[in-house]
Subunit: 102 residues, 2 copies
């Protein structure tokens, strides 16, 4: 299962605070057992369909139950309370990847 | 590089048409050389932050130049002309995955 969070930080955030929050997000991998992986990146698309989102965070879980456990986990709740106030926009989708056979 | 497209299909689309479009999207892997992989899924998130998006499509490319080549490729343009009219909402971000060392 993939847990995808798109974000736009508020304009008054500093690069140092942004880096601190991203490290905090990544640090959840070692605090929340069902969270098995974490990647992030900044949008570089040329199609102008980003709807204002600038950052993407992709976490990997073995199951939907694992995502529910993550959402309720005290370490996630503590991080979310630090992270969400810095976001101007946020969007979350969870999905099980399907690969289409040709 | 990851090319991420979030979509919500129009309400009057049929399941058959949805399946046809997803297969068409996946088929670009064999038509557009720089497109190296394709996955898709439907949103199952429980946090109610999906902003109305129901589907996610994730393509893999070796470089940003590869994504630009894909966007301009006749097979992609032909597919986009079939696909986009069925979308009520669309969002695209491209990113280079970073993995944070603990």
């Amino acid at each position: 299962m993939k847990h995808v969070l798109l974000a736009r930080f508020k304009e008054d955030i500093t690069p140092e605070k942004t880096e601190e929050l991203i490290k905090g997000y990544a640090g959840l991998v070692s605090l929340v057992e069902p969270m098995k992986g974490f990647q992030w990146g900044t949008d570089v698309s040329i199609e102008n369909l980003h709807q204002g989102f600038t950052h993407i965070f992709v976490s990997t879980f073995e199951s939907t139950e694992g995502i529910a456990e993550y959402v309720a986990h005290p370490a996630h709740v503590e991080f979310a309370n630090k992270f969400l106030p810095w976001l101007e926009k946020v969007l979350v989708v969870d999905y099980k990847p399907n690969i289409v056979e040709q």
